[in-house]
């Protein structure tokens, strides 16, 4: 997967969890939770969907890496580029 593919995968997951949110204007550098109304359970669901869909494990100590879209993509790239 490329960085763009991972970004799209994250968008698809967020869309499934919060279908009514507008995800078109997300600023990749800003924290996701400042832009989308996600609570901690929504956030955990993103992690669980990554495991379900791509068998990617995000250990709890790495949750901070998923702060913004670009930090998320950077963090996931080594785990997902071979997919």
């Amino acid at each position: 997967m490329t960085g763009e593919g991972i970004r799209q995968a994250i968008i698809d997951i967020i869309r499934e969890i919060v279908p009514d949110e507008d995800l078109s204007g997300i600023d990749a550098e800003k924290p996701l939770r400042d832009q989308i109304d996600l609570d901690s359970m929504d956030f955990l669901d993103i992690v669980m969907e990554l495991r379900k869909r791509y068998s990617v494990e995000v250990p709890e100590q790495d949750y901070q890496e998923l702060e913004s879209m670009s930090s998320t993509v950077n963090y996931l790239l080594p785990k997902m580029e071979s997919l």
Binding site: P19, D39, M48, R51, K52
Partner: protein, 458 residues
């Protein structure tokens, strides 16, 4: 065949847990003793009519509320949308006591103003109580007062208003007699008065169908007529279940929605060591009266009416087969539907004594239904306009019906007074969800299933 999780009971909590677990790839089987799903919120057919057993209304209706509201949170966990539930809001509900009638809608301000009119000075008290309820919700009810009565009275200084506010809340969720656990009161106060009532037009069945469909589509397995006779425990760990027919099923973990005492009955090792749990004592009888015209044509305009013929609301096991001195009158047709429903009915719920109904022989049981339904109607028709001349058919369910179809000891609708909060039992891989985990009502039981699945099994 070995499952990751076996769920006992296909009620709202078991189904919701199943949807969540199957969605994330767990190999799940739901085992239900009855031939139909739903548990305490099921449905049946009688006299050619589709009738609900549990549901009067879905609480926690807040379509435009914050995303932190219980129903919004729940729906996100189940990957559902509010529109999937096809809910229609209530019109108006009333609390009718001897000296006062309090009206409430899905707008808390209406209740607050009404309270202030009837009980001078109490509007502000009620608003402060509401603020405290929301503060407790944000803090997961930690530090919630033990007694609901004392909690409410610490804000509201008019004792009659406390009684009136307790009435719907206790009817819709207290496993205790005479009082209620403070945290549960707070949650239900919010669910009933601050958020509100709504109903799916065709009753509970479409919601059940939706949950079952989601569950099966995610790979979950459903086995009806499959009661669990025993949970097999080996060295402090459950290894599987034995069904009523003797079949065994192996699994890694068990989530029981059967109730705490009911789970202990099939798994004595699951009895909490630090508590002495008891069976619930509060059960109800309900008559479902089909009428030949819309109820509002007869002057019954409320969605739900809660009443007490005594100024002090008595919520305790009935000494008589049915305690007709208080009750809940639900008119399922009086919700804001897009088009009027085909069947019109008035449902009347009263506290009932399980002992009488369990002990009666067949003739006595049938006679009792007619006798006590008539006695109940006599009082009800002093509370709302008369409608009995328009009744074309009626059926009644009793504590015995509830026990028979849900397995709840005493037909206790709200389960044991002992709630398990964290869902854990002394058997490391046996968990409890549903009524005796602590959340109540349709939305509450679904939240219970999702939360325990999340915390213990995912």
């Amino acid at each position: 065949m070995r499952y990751d999780v076996v769920i006992i009971g296909a009620g709202m909590s078991g189904l919701s847990a199943g949807v969540r677990l199957a969605h994330f790839g767990k190999k799940v089987a739901i085992l239900e003793r009855h031939y139909r799903v739903g548990g305490l919120n099921s449905f049946y057919r009688s006299g050619g009519y589709d009738l609900d057993v549990g549901l009067h209304a879905v609480t926690n209706y807040s379509p435009d509320g914050p995303k932190s509201a219980p129903m919004a949170r729940l729906l996100r966990r189940l990957r559902m949308r509010m529109s999937d539930l096809e809910l229609y809001p209530q019109k108006v509900s009333r609390i009718v006591f001897p000296d006062a009638t309090l009206e409430f809608t899905n707008d808390f301000d209406h209740l607050a103003r009404q309270s202030g009119k009837l009980f001078p000075g109490q509007e502000e008290s009620l608003r402060r109580l509401k603020d405290e309820v929301f503060r407790l919700y944000e803090n997961n009810f930690s530090g919630a007062p033990k007694s609901a009565r004392r909690f409410a009275s610490s804000f509201i200084t008019a004792p009659d208003l406390v009684e009136m506010l307790m009435c719907p809340v206790m009817f819709y969720g207290s496993a205790w007699e005479n009082d209620m656990e403070g945290g549960q009161f707070a949650l239900l106060f919010m669910s009933l008065y601050c958020e509100g009532f709504a109903r799916p037009k065709n009753g509970i069945r479409p919601i059940l169908d939706l949950l079952v469909e989601r569950y099966k589509n995610s790979g979950g397995e459903m086995r009806l007529r499959s009661g669990v006779q025993r949970i097999e425990v080996l060295k402090g760990k459950a290894v599987g279940v034995v069904l009523d027919n003797g079949d065994t099923i192996e699994c890694e973990a068990i989530l029981s929605s059967a109730g705490l005492m009911e789970t202990i009955a099939i798994c004595p090792e699951a009895s909490p060591v630090d508590l002495a749990p008891e069976a619930g004592r509060m059960s109800f009888a309900e008559s479902i009266n089909i009428i030949d015209r819309p109820a509002d044509e007869l002057g019954l305009d409320a969605s739900i009416t809660f009443f007490s013929a005594n100024r002090k609301f008595r919520y305790r096991r009935s000494a008589l087969p049915v305690d007709v001195q208080s009750g809940v009158i639900c008119v399922p047709g009086n919700f804001c539907y897009d088009e009027p429903p085909d069947t019109h009915m008035v449902r009347i719920t009263n506290i009932a004594d399980p002992g009488f109904w369990e002990g009666a022989d067949k003739a006595g049981y049938e006679k009792g239904k007619i006798e006590w339904r008539d006695k109940s109607l006599e009082v009800v028709e002093t509370i709302v306009p008369e409608f009995s001349d328009s009744v074309t058919y009626f059926d009644m369910f009793t504590p015995r019906t509830i026990r028979k179809f849900t397995g709840h000891i005493n037909g206790a609708v709200y389960g044991s007074p002992t709630k398990l909060g964290d869902g854990k039992t002394p058997v490391e891989n046996v968990f409890v969800c549903g009524t005796d985990q602590g959340y109540l009502g349709v939305v509450g039981s679904m939240i219970s299933g999702v939360e325990i699945a999340n915390q213990r099994l995912l």
